[in-house]
Subunit: 364 residues, 2 copies
């Protein structure tokens, strides 16, 4: 068996006050959205969050084909032009990494060490997946659809291409796209050129990039990314529950100006408009509240103009800032009554963290 | 005096084996280029490196003006349309952060913790700065030109807008641009919309983003970004020498496929094409050498097609890979005979690091 470097003490977890060089290496490859980016209803492409498990693959679009096979009546092999000629839809979709907030959990699983910035909203243009599946004709026995990306690497010592599956009922939802444009341009290589799956409401691991194969199957798919990771579990041995839809969350544009190194905010005393965005996967955001005292007391924010049914909502709150030191917080409640927790319930992989954001500010 | 959080032991330096949460916070806001991005002669916008000292400012382009004042005959106030109507040039320019490699120096200054990925090459379109300065008419007494960005924050406890200066002789060079397009599109907000200075050959701190003011002056500018940081010095007290042109460097596209967490490469035995890019600021790259034994022995690489006089060169090397563990290295020599060092000469701020890249690979 090949041996990769051991990180830290070999437990797979890091000490709270230090980060390992391997985590830094991932943080510098992958990309968070600077939080002032919350001001844009549609995130500029270059600041949308990005997580790449392996490498960005090199794909020659003219040689590339999308294969649709497995339990279908008519297997398909489609060129990019074939796909672009079919009916298209454009949807604004908020996407978040399932590991967002991982570096805030304790103990922290050693992996991509997100704080809160693994988010973004883009306008994706593509062909509804449903159209392709209907064209191929799903067999009655098909219960899942497997999506395979072109990216290849090693994870947990398993050589693999990135693969995820969806239940047929999810795959046939109207809003699921095979996207070839992001924000009105061909998708940039790092976001999945020439084609990616976009599944609104689900954490980002579902929206398979560099897609080149779709297979219908009669069995639940047992791939690494379905069974070994992206599970809510208490240990590596426990199988737990799959990570699926995005949990409710609100984030704030840090007000005032930042200190370069600590990112503590310096705010001028007086009337300060606090604002940001909130989202809740497939649910609606029912309420957003703001606290200027670290979560001891809360006041309701109001909503701004909606962006789209699959994208975040703007929220706005007027704060009368007096000189002093503050910890600003924001929390959202979804339409099922779930509210963001002050402290995250711990899970092994550091998934689905939606604990309340805290922003340190000095008012002068 | 306002107090920001103390990081680590307060020395301003970090232990070799651990990163501080504040460094992670910066690493997640700022953005490196994943090294497989070296395959593109022109870096896709969304993976070009990005360093933002404070916040990305919100700028209404219709209200924005470029002011040209100080020691000039005719002070100017230009709209974006005014600038777009003037003669334009497009240049492919390789840009690198002066702090690239900082996290590899020992002890490591606590700041943006780059490894080797703070690089990118974009096509910048804009008006030559020289044209604007000639239009305004520089006074004879002018020796420097000061560039002020719209971004504001605190650094070293000093509230400031980002400002850098250039000697008049540098400012009047033909290749210095006031750029409003990057890769054929209006510059995205994070890269300096609506206008940024682009100074080919210099480290990136010189290419002031969100530019809205140019002042000619008879005195050397004493701003924070000129005198307190971006200096080659051995201590905080020593004034040292200014950081200016980009030093010679080569980087390699890591071959094979990566292990997710360690990024160690898994390579199939046989003939492997190693390739990447090399650059040397205002100088030419004279030589690129590759080592498969951690720098013990070196062989010459050949050059690919040139991209542009201000951009990196491709290099290519054929490696006969036999099963085993390797540390692959690449180093470049510039036209003045400077060669990349195996170990960096230390400086206080962690600037100008161009030590040889090391890529761990397992051949099977």
């Amino acid at each position: 068996m090949r041996r990769f470097r051991t990180i830290g003490d070999g437990s797979g977890f890091g000490r709270d006050d230090t980060l390992y060089p391997e985590e830094l290496q991932l943080a510098l490859r992958n990309r968070g959205m600077p939080l002032e980016g919350l001001r844009y209803p549609i995130t500029p492409t270059g600041i949308h969050y990005l997580l790449v498990h392996y490498d960005i693959p090199e794909i020659d679009a003219s040689a590339w084909r999308l294969t649709v096979s497995g339990l279908v009546t008519t297997p398909l092999s489609l060129t990019l032009d074939d796909i672009r000629k079919r009916p298209r839809r454009t949807l604004a979709v908020t996407m978040e990494c399932a590991g967002n907030g991982r570096a805030l959990s304790s103990p922290r699983r050693i992996s991509q060490p997100w704080l809160v910035e693994a988010i973004g909203t883009a306008e994706w243009t593509g062909m509804p997946l449903k159209g392709v599946l209907e064209e191929a004709g799903l067999a009655r026995a098909a219960i899942e659809v497997i999506f395979t990306g072109r990216d290849e690497g090693v994870e947990g010592n398993v050589v693999q291409r990135y693969q995820r599956s969806l239940a047929v009922s999810e795959a046939l939802r109207d809003e699921v796209l095979l996207a070839y444009e992001m924000n009105g341009q061909p998708i940039e290589p790092q976001h999945g050129f020439p084609l990616r799956l976009v599944v609104p409401g689900w954490y980002g691991m579902t929206s398979v990039k560099w897609l080149d194969r779709i297979d219908a199957t009669a069995e639940p798919f047992q791939g690494y990314q379905m069974t070994r990771v992206y599970r809510y579990a208490r240990s590596e041995e426990e199988s737990g529950e799959p990570v699926t839809l995005i949990r409710v969350r609100a984030l704030m544009i840090p007000p005032g100006i930042p200190d370069f190194m600590t990112r503590t905010r310096l705010v001028r005393a007086g009337r300060v408009i606090l604002s940001g965005r909130a989202w809740a996967g497939r649910l609606a955001v029912a309420r957003v509240e703001v606290s200027a005292d670290g979560g001891a007391t809360w006041s309701d924010a109001r909503f701004g103009d909606p962006v789209s049914p699959h994208a975040w909502n703007e929220w706005i709150f007027e704060w009368n800032a007096r000189p002093g030191s503050y910890t600003l917080c924001v929390r959202a409640t979804d339409s099922s009554g779930n509210v963001q927790p002050a402290e995250q319930e711990w899970n092994f992989g550091g998934y689905g963290n939606n604990s309340v954001q805290r922003v340190d500010a000095i008012v002068e």
